[in-house]
């Protein structure tokens, strides 16, 4: 067997991927970047519609969602002003435990 073929077979049998998880800080930063990009295209889906689609809201979003508020208020990204985002982006496995908070759910616990 020549070296070229040998390496082809080696690569075929050896995937190289290790069983590691993406750091929670990376997931948090990626999510923040995606939301920023989404906001640059237009308003986010109002929280009421997110809830109707069956997706959970955190306690702060829930408060906003039950208030009689216009779409602009419902579409605001409250994570921007939340300590959970700041912690999630900077601290690996940050002590965030809010239910339905993306930054809490990104933690590798």
């Amino acid at each position: 067997m020549n070296e070229d073929l040998w390496l082809e077979q080696l690569a075929e049998t050896i995937p190289l991927e290790e069983s590691v998880l993406a750091p929670s800080c990376l997931k948090s930063r990626v999510y923040s970047a995606l939301i920023l990009a989404a906001e640059s295209e237009g308003p986010l889906l109002p929280l009421t519609e997110t809830k109707q689609a069956g997706r959970g809201l955190c306690v702060f979003e829930h408060l906003v969602q039950i208030l009689p508020s216009p779409d602009a208020v419902q579409s605001f990204q409250y994570c921007k002003v939340c300590h959970a985002r700041v912690l999630g982006e900077r601290v690996e496995n940050a002590p965030i435990y809010w239910p339905c908070c993306p930054y809490s759910e990104f933690q590798n616990r």
Binding site: N2, L5, E18, P23, L26, K27, V30, L34, I35, L57
Partner: protein, 196 residues
């Protein structure tokens, strides 16, 4: 769903749950975006990390670029393939962009007489799968970056020397010579008693 959003359209036999998630992300549902990141980030991270080892400092930026590129392209996702495969396809392009960029920057080693190619060692006889994976990872890490990149590109990303030459602006002959020397180095380390 908001009327100003161009949603992905399903093809027959599409991956329905993947398509539904893509549609929700495109509709700017923040929680769908979180689910999108949560579901796919580990696989993308693992893939990019394996292809960039040991230069892990580039991994996180590339993973973020993959997600942002995917987000821009999601309206064109039709569910004809699993979302994971579609994302890994984007990741593969990003990794190849990285290889191309690094190969442009790193100078080619001095020309030398090629004593190889010779016969490759027997994989099966040498190691079991787990040990072989560990050994290959170690050897790739130990190689000079330019050798590591061409080997990963050629054998783990299945690109021909011609394709690599075209994408880097080098001649196919230069890439072939580089590959020959990279194989030679890899083989020498593989056969060395200390490579495990």
């Amino acid at each position: 769903m908001r009327r100003d959003v161009r949603l992905p359209v399903a093809l027959p036999n599409s991956h329905e749950s993947d398509l539904a998630l893509a549609q929700a992300v495109v509709a700017r549902d923040r929680k769908a975006a979180a689910e999108f990141v949560q579901i796919h980030s580990d696989a993308l991270y693992r893939y990019v990390r394996s292809r960039l080892q040991p230069r892990f400092e580039f991994v996180e930026d590339i993973v973020q670029e993959v997600f942002l590129t995917a987000w821009k392209s999601l309206p064109r996702y039709r569910g004809e393939a699993p979302l994971r495969s579609w994302l890994l396809g984007i990741a593969r392009h990003k990794v190849e962009d990285h290889y191309r960029e690094r190969l442009r920057i790193i100078p080619l080693p001095d020309e030398a007489e090629d004593t190889l190619p010779l016969v490759g060692p027997d994989i099966d006889a040498a190691l079991d799968q787990a040990r072989a994976q560990q050994a290959a990872g170690k050897i790739l890490t130990a190689l000079p970056e330019i050798y590591r990149l061409v080997l990963l590109w050629r054998y783990w990303e299945h690109r021909s020397a011609e394709e690599m030459a075209e994408r880097t602006g080098k001649t196919p002959k230069a890439i072939e010579r580089l590959l020959a020397r990279a194989r030679q180095e890899f083989r020498a380390l593989w056969l060395a008693p200390s490579h495990e």
